[in-house]
């Protein structure tokens, strides 16, 4: 049974309004039908978790129709706000393969046999973005000979930049759930609890705490809860946990992820396991100061390029410019939207963050910084969902900023 939308719910999203906004933009561009395929498009419109290869067909007016792999269509129909008949399936049957199901629906049920069709193409750093594959594009195009194909993903990208109240509330809750993971991890590690504990175990302890608090997924494609200890903290920004045991003298990075109503909690916190050297403390103090400086400079009207320059200048002034990676954020939205900032495809460097994007109120990013001194077997990571406001930013994880020493 489809979900009933309640405007009084603090997590309410005006999903029909989103569809109307997309349709208005389609109308402006002369697009007769939109064929979405990216996960972020499904999340933005369906307001449901859509992990299988899916397609969203948005007509000029009225509800979209969603197609997914047949094994998951009933669950999605139960969780989305769309009418049951607007949640369809494709599967391994004559007439029901992806090409037939989608193109027959457009031609026969929508009655659109020619015109301009918007679709989603591009490139991303993460595998599961969901752009239309060459195979899909070729076969859909052959089955819809009367159509001009227009890459139109920027309609969704543009409309999803500014977060509405319900979306921000979801992110606030997701971030507080992540804090429960950090509290549980801290409690497990202190007073010698770290001894014999592996990275995978601490990831699981946090996962359990977050699940208890209402998280439905550690959503992150790069290793769920990412953990690194010792030399691995200096290896960069993707550290799926291993069975490596946490040792005395290690730096330790905990990057936890929660999902609440498709909003993505994401907070990294760092520790130094005693005994701590002066050099380790120096690195840690540098990183905390850099984070604070960047957070202090977020505000509506600034740009990613400006923030990165502030960060690098500050790091240089402390003598640690060699250790900080030259970027401080990535995009964030509902599940599947965790890539570049902005909606403009810069022709000189397509599908990367637009460094001149001007932040507006109620945009969200993950403030993300990586400090790495691999030759010294040390590194740190900071991530936190933030909401841009007029004169600053709201930091959503409330776990105290700092790099504590524990033993």
């Amino acid at each position: 049974m489809p979900r009933i939308l309640d405007p009084n719910d603090k997590y309410y999203i005006d999903n029909p309004g989103r569809v109307q906004a997309i349709q208005a933009e389609m109308h402006k561009r002369g697009i007769d039908v939109y064929l979405g395929s990216r996960i972020r498009t499904m999340s933005f419109v369906m307001d449901a978790f859509c992990p299988w290869r899916s397609y969203l067909i948005i007509p000029p007016e009225g509800q979209p129709t969603y197609f997914t792999f047949v094994v998951d269509s009933m669950r999605v129909a139960d969780e989305t706000w769309l009418d049951e008949d607007n949640v369809r399936a494709y599967g391994p049957m004559g007439g029901m393969d992806q090409t037939s199901a989608i193109t027959d629906f457009i031609k026969e049920e929508l009655g659109i046999t020619k015109g301009r069709i918007g679709y989603e193409d591009g490139v991303s750093t993460w595998t599961a973005e969901g752009n239309l594959s060459h195979w899909e594009y070729t076969h859909f195009k052959d089955a819809l000979p009367g159509f001009e194909w227009i890459n139109a993903h920027d309609i969704i990208d543009g409309l999803s930049i500014i977060k509405d109240k319900g979306t921000i509330e979801r992110f606030r809750t997701a971030s507080l759930i992540v804090d429960e993971g950090h509290k549980a991890a801290r409690a497990a590690l202190e007073n010698g609890g770290y001894k014999g504990m592996t990275e995978t175990v601490i990831a699981g302890i946090a996962a359990l705490a977050m699940r208890k608090a209402g998280s439905v997924s550690e959503w992150n494609f790069a290793g769920l809860n990412e953990i690194s200890s010792g030399y691995r903290t200096g290896l960069g920004a993707c550290t799926p946990p291993t069975t490596k045991e946490i040792q005395a003298g290690d730096p330790l990075m905990l990057d936890f992820h929660s999902m609440f109503k498709l909003a993505l909690g994401d907070h990294s916190h760092n520790y130094l396991i005693g005994p701590v050297t002066k050099r380790q403390r120096w690195h840690a103090d540098n990183f905390v100061a850099i984070i604070q400086t960047v957070l202090d400079n977020y505000r509506a009207g600034t740009t990613p390029g400006t923030l990165a320059a502030i960060m690098m200048d500050f790091a240089e002034s402390r003598g640690c410019g060699d250790f900080i990676q030259p970027a401080c954020e990535h995009g964030i939205g509902l599940f599947g939207d965790e890539w570049r900032i902005g909606a403009v495809v810069n022709p000189d460097l397509p599908y990367w963050t637009d460094q001149d994007h001007v932040y507006a109120e109620n945009e969200m990013v993950v403030c993300a910084m990586q400090y790495a001194a691999p030759e010294e077997n040390i590194g740190f990571r900071y991530e936190n969902d933030i909401v841009i406001v007029k004169g600053g930013c709201e930091v959503l994880s409330k776990y105290p900023l700092g790099i504590e020493e524990i033993s």
Binding site: A77, G91, M93, G94
Partner: protein, 133 residues
């Protein structure tokens, strides 16, 4: 030979309706309300035939055969005369015919799958009709 009905003829249709109503109770049909049109391509007479079946609360209320455009059904299944004939002779399962692309389904697949067992029961009854293909 004389007691066999020509496949999809009026007498075959009459026998089909009678058998479906007699042998399939609303309980066996899960009280479904639905309809489907089978479209027969490449028929021996060169024409395109159809078989239309309608159920209301599990009772088979309508069976129609004919040529040309069939009544509007919730589902439409398209295939060759030979494929449908093989299914009716129990030489080929309907599910296998769909899964190998010999039959093409049009309609809501999620809903259709919920009717797979009901569809099998229908086909088993139709397979019992003495038929001349």
């Amino acid at each position: 030979m004389a007691d066999k009905h020509v496949y999809l003829s009026q007498s075959w249709r009459d026998d089909a309706l009678k058998r479906l109503q007699t042998e399939l109770t609303p309980e066996k049909m899960n009280h479904v309300t639905t309809s489907m049109s089978n479209i027969y391509k490449n028929c021996p007479d060169g024409e395109e035939h159809f078989l239309f079946i309608e159920c209301d609360d599990g009772k088979v209320t309508r069976v129609e055969t004919g040529t040309g455009e069939p009544p509007q059904g919730v589902f439409r299944i398209i295939g060759s005369y030979e494929t449908f004939a093989r299914i009716s002779r129990a030489e080929l399962g309907a599910q296998k015919a769909l899964m190998t692309g010999k039959l093409k389904l049009k309609g809501n697949l999620a809903k259709a799958l919920r009717l797979a067992a009901v569809s099998d029961r229908l086909n088993k009854v139709l397979a019992q009709i003495p038929t001349q293909y």
